[in-house]
């Protein structure tokens, strides 16, 4: 018997964490830009590892017309931000909030098949569930998104 393994956990191949989609979004992140115009943004920071991300939104009425991100981070956090921004373009704030909840469920608890289906491509990040230390990497972009959606300043920034 092995010592010090803690509670048994499903041994997962690293390839399930680092799926092709994740590696691709890490290498060529989508929406890695400051959208022009934009009217809301928030900075997210993971003090544990120093990962930094800024999410920029252009919200018109109730719709996220455009969004992008900047920052540095690991493959998981970069791919997560990239996939998130892809998934949210054109969505309403309510739809984005619903996806936030579903994504949170995906990376922290076992998600149902229906939830996974609804998440589409985002479901590839479900692998982090097996790596508790990496859940924050996957969720940093989403928490930052939430902060950006709640940001009050609606002044258009063209920087």
């Amino acid at each position: 018997m092995e010592r010090g393994e803690g509670p048994p956990r499903l041994k997962m191949d690293l390839r399930e964490l680092y799926q092709e989609v994740i590696l691709d979004h890490n290498k060529r992140p989508r929406n890695f830009r400051v959208p022009d115009p934009n009217n809301r943004h928030a900075e997210g920071y993971n003090p544990l590892c120093g990962d930094k991300i800024t999410i920029f939104l252009y919200v018109e009425g109730n719709v996220i017309k455009d969004l992008g991100f900047q920052g540095t981070g690991c493959a998981i956090s970069k791919a997560s931000a990239s996939l998130m921004t892809d998934a949210l373009k054109g969505k309403t704030i309510e739809q984005a909030n619903a996806l936030f909840d579903q994504f949170h469920h995906l990376v922290t608890g076992p998600a149902t098949q229906a939830e996974s289906d609804e998440l589409g491509k985002l479901a590839v990040l479900g692998g982090v569930r097996e790596y508790p230390m990496r859940v924050k990497c996957a969720s940093l972009a989403w928490h930052t998104l939430k902060a950006a959606m709640q940001a009050e300043h609606d002044v258009v920034s063209t920087e």
Binding site: E2, R3, G4, E5, K11, L14, R15, L17, Y18, L23, K27, L48, C49, G50, D51, K52, T72, G73, C74, A75, I76, K78, Y131, M133, R134, C137
Partner: protein, 416 residues
């Protein structure tokens, strides 16, 4: 007789014999033999330390400096004996110059809160360096904010060496404290403390040395260094967590106001006035970490049972081997290439974030640290957001370095 209780010096360094003294090292992680290369974060504990702490609780447990009963006497003796062991380990002149604290962080906070508050005033200066751990930055930053003083930072070179040439001209009549690490936790640089102390003392400025990363790897003699304060942690010296040491020159400690107040640090209390206890008790308010101190004493004894010259030679050889091995991996750049280095191999890999390296290495049984290592200003100076850090101890082997390199090949495989 087991090696853990051996009192005979091991003359030629036998790493495999030493490994048997550390029970944790025999396990597997994700089905692979554990390769523990996170020693700068904390070191593993030999059986002798674990046994000493168990004995302390199982046989000698009582509060110290209080009871007239035999158990209290035994506990007090064990605690004070540990202080003497630390005294000899650091070559302090007197045992009352050894203050037990929780760790390096508390030791530095103690100096900042007492000596610092008493001596640093408006427009005065405290000098630190660019390669400090947050625990040797933030206490001084807070002190300077409180006192409207100025925090100055001695720069480093691209290799990760202090710009000693700038030190003298950065000190002024207003500089009240110099605080510097002996060994950098992120880079492994060994800093020339003796030179720094000489330069600072010419202007009458005391020097606080953060020795957290030094004590397990290089000989420390506080009198030879002429350091005014020297801080260290037990857990980075094969001892337990929650116990550390502040060494201070007796004259300085005696003149300082107390840090925390309460029991054991007083000699007489009335509701009008309190007279403080003598050193070292003045700085040890409340019931201390008795078993922790005993464990630290056992760790010092354990190191004393090894041939220190052979240990240091072995560690140097291991670092050189690791440096060569990592340099041969395509896409890897070592961060921190000072001429005088010990035990730390910080590196970055092209197109792969340190976190991803850390996760993949863990699956191969290789434990390293990734991130900013509590040295964010240093990371910024070196132009990296984070590094992967393999840090060595006397029980690591060349085979383990080979395992690290093989695991890094796996990282490449996944990310290419």
């Amino acid at each position: 007789m087991t090696p853990a209780t051996s009192t005979h010096p091991i003359t030629a360094f036998d790493v495999h014999r030493v490994r048997r003294d550390f029970p944790i090292l025999g396990q597997t992680i994700h089905g692979k033999p554990l390769v523990y290369l996170d020693n700068a974060a904390t070191t593993q504990k030999p059986q002798a330390v674990i046994d000493a702490m168990v004995r302390s609780y199982a046989e000698d447990n009582a509060n110290i400096h209080r009871g007239v009963h035999l158990l209290s006497e035994r506990a007090t003796q064990a605690y004070e004996l540990a202080r003497e062991k630390v005294q000899h380990f650091l070559n302090a002149a007197q045992s009352r110059e050894i203050i037990f604290v929780r760790g390096t962080t508390e030791a530095i906070n103690l100096v900042a809160a007492t000596y610092g508050r008493a001596h640093v005033g408006k427009d005065d200066e405290v000098l630190i360096t660019e390669m400090e751990h947050h625990s040797n930055i933030v206490p001084w930053q807070l002190l300077c904010e409180e006192k409207e003083a100025i925090l100055k930072v001695l720069p480093i070179t691209d290799e990760g060496e202090l710009r000693i040439d700038l030190l003298d001209r950065m000190l002024t009549d207003r500089t009240k404290i110099v605080a510097v690490n002996h060994v950098s936790n992120s880079l492994g640089t060994i800093n020339p403390i003796k030179t720094i102390v000489e330069i600072a003392h010419r202007r009458g400025i005391p020097v606080v040395v953060d020795g957290a990363q030094a004590v397990a790897h290089i000989p420390v003699d506080v009198q030879a260094l002429d350091a005014d304060f020297y801080a260290m942690s037990g857990h980075k010296l094969f001892g337990p967590t929650g116990i550390g040491v502040l060494y201070g020159k007796a004259a300085l400690l005696a003149a300082m106001p107390p840090y925390q107040s309460g029991g054991d640090m007083i000699s007489a209390v009335t509701f009008k006035k309190t007279t403080f206890n003598v050193l070292p008790n003045k700085f040890e308010a409340g019931t201390p970490n008795i078993a922790g101190a005993v464990g630290l004493g056992a760790a010092i004894d354990y190191l004393g049972s090894l041939d220190s010259g052979a240990v240091h030679a072995y560690e140097d050889e291991l670092l050189a081997y690791g440096t060569r091995a990592l340099s041969s991996v395509p896409g890897i750049r070592i961060v921190g290439t000072a001429a005088q280095k010990t035990s730390v191999l910080s590196f970055v890999m092209e197109n792969v974030h340190p976190h991803d390296i850390g996760t993949i290495l863990d699956q191969e049984g290789v434990a390293i640290r990734t991130g900013h290592h509590c040295t964010q200003p240093l990371m910024e100076r070196m132009g990296v957001p984070a590094t992967a850090r393999a840090s060595l101890a006397l029980y690591n082997t060349k085979d383990e370095i080979d395992a690290l390199v093989r695991a890094l090949d796996k990282v490449r495989e996944i990310f290419d």
